[in-house]
């Protein structure tokens, strides 16, 4: 594997760019592994990286039914933040943010992590009070937070509608300076390349179609490329969790699959230098390094496994966007797409054990799983290697809905579409 550095770039420039090798191998599956990870999205690949790097578990395969990074990791709007109120979430996402801060070095791959600040806009005094409370909780948990008034927001972005007659007048916002965005594909590719270099087999076009389980213990998985044995199997299939888990007899999980769309405008010179969320209008926006405005809104609103969006929501998102930023109406939408979200019943993820020995579950990421990628892989690798959760993920159990220990950050109740 070529180590990427400024020297390898210069060398490539001088030698006709012939020094570059494949970023990862394309191996045939072995008959068995110590650990199989199902799903070559961000979380599956990160898990493989940390298993190999931190736990010395390298006889690992990641099985992906399509191509690496073809799922939500390559479809999301890349917002990274740790501005949570509840302790379990705050500690987990802050651990993730810290891993983000060192990720490009850790992977020797530029994930283009840009700490350009994330700002949640407030539209009433009570909402601003609520934000102050969340900001104080963050500060108590050692996480950076700043409360902005209207002038503070306007100084950063002059293009919003700041008038009193705006649909939702802007009162201020809660800012996390260390939040920002990253390049989604690079995250998948960086973890893939690093895991492969440590001996992990990344096996694409290999769909898991069943499990072999005897006496309550997993023995391996059936795939479109034959049976593959394993001591331990970790599931990280995001929106496909319910039906993959059902193959292992884990029926009726507390998850619904919904689709979320993303939209990108034509490219522009720098216009929006931070990430803004406009919760009152169901809209959020940032600008990519290529110049396109990247934005989105709510779920399409009904259960779906179709990786494509519908028009009513595109119209809704644009209406909301223009209520916040009227100049948006002068731009053309150039691309839009959708991903399948694993919406959990309290809006928080599940990372942990299952009733089947040797089978582990990573799911329920809702629309926030991209920022979680490093910590999710880190905690899942720990859980699989040690056969018990780490303190950072011990609250994210599958059975918390039975025991009443939900982690409902938004207080939205058991309505998955509302988180």
């Amino acid at each position: 594997m070529t180590h990427y550095s400024v020297w390898s770039l210069i060398k490539g420039g001088l030698t006709g760019q012939k020094n570059w090798t494949r970023a990862w191998r394309d191996p045939e599956p072995k008959s068995s592994y110590d650990v199989i990870i199902i799903g070559g999205g961000g979380h599956g690949l990160a898990t493989a990286h940390y298993l190999a790097k931190l736990h010395g578990v390298t006889n690992v395969a990641v099985l992906e039914k399509g191509w690496l990074g073809g799922g939500n990791v390559g479809r999301n709007t890349t917002i990274v933040r740790s501005n949570y109120l509840l302790d379990a979430n705050a500690h987990f996402y802050e651990h993730s943010l810290k891993l983000w801060e060192g990720l490009s070095d850790d992977l020797n791959y530029n994930v283009m992590f840009s700490q350009r600040a994330v700002i949640n806009l407030a539209h009433s005094k009570p909402q601003l009070d609520g934000f102050a409370r969340r900001g104080n909780a963050m500060l108590l948990n050692g996480i950076d937070a700043e409360l902005l008034d209207r002038d503070g927001v306007q100084a950063m972005v002059p293009y919003f509608d700041y008038s009193e007659s705006a649909r939702f007048p802007i009162y201020g916002g809660l800012m996390q300076r260390r939040g920002g965005s990253a390049r989604h594909d690079a995250v998948a590719w960086g973890y893939a390349r690093s895991a492969d270099a440590r001996g992990v087999d990344l096996i694409q076009n290999c769909e898991v179609t069943g499990f072999r389980i005897e006496d309550g213990r997993v023995l391996g998985v059936e795939t479109t490329r034959g049976f593959i044995g394993a001591q331990k199997v970790g599931m990280a299939v995001a929106g496909h969790t319910s039906h993959v888990a059902a193959m292992a007899g884990l029926n009726r999980l507390p998850i619904e699959s919904h689709k979320l769309q993303a939209m990108v405008s034509e490219g522009l010179k720098p216009l929006i230098n931070q990430v803004y969320t406009f919760g009152a209008g169901h809209f959020y926006i940032s600008q990519s390094d290529k110049g396109g405005l990247v934005y989105g809104g709510d779920l399409d609103g009904y259960n779906s496994y179709a990786q494509r969006g519908n028009y009513p929501l595109i119209e809704h998102v644009h209406a909301a966007g223009m209520a916040l930023m009227p100049s948006l109406g002068r731009l053309r939408l150039t691309r839009h797409w959708a991903g399948v979200m694993d919406m959990s019943m309290d809006g928080s993820p599940i990372i942990g054990m299952t009733p089947i020995e040797g089978l582990y579950l990573n799911a329920g990421w809702c629309y926030g799983g991209f920022k979680a990628t490093p910590a999710s892989g880190w905690c899942f690798a720990h859980t699989i290697a040690q056969n018990r959760p780490h303190a950072l993920n011990e609250a994210f159990t599958l059975n918390r809905f039975e025991t009443g220990a939900q982690i409902d950050e938004r207080g939205a109740g058991p309505i998955p579409g509302a988180h």
Partner: protein, 98 residues
Amino acid sequence: MFIIKCPYCGERDVTEFSYGGDATRAYPQDPAQATPEDWHAYVYERDNPRGWHVEWWQHSQGCRQWLKLRRNTLTHELGRTALPHEPLSPDDDEGSDA
């Protein structure tokens, strides 16, 4: 985009309707006798099928009545609609009346 056939109003644009989720879940018959497990199953557990799904919709911008719709979550193909008290199963094969 799809068009839902309201049993009262006929074919209407989906934007006139609000979604009410999985309609195969049954509220505990005798709430006073229901166990915590029964409530957990009703409130939190979902089949979440990748295929045919029977779901609640309310014609909120029209007659305001609730209805059941059979819809494929993978292809977005629509099956028939039914009144709330009528049985409708994800395996219903009476074809589409949309």
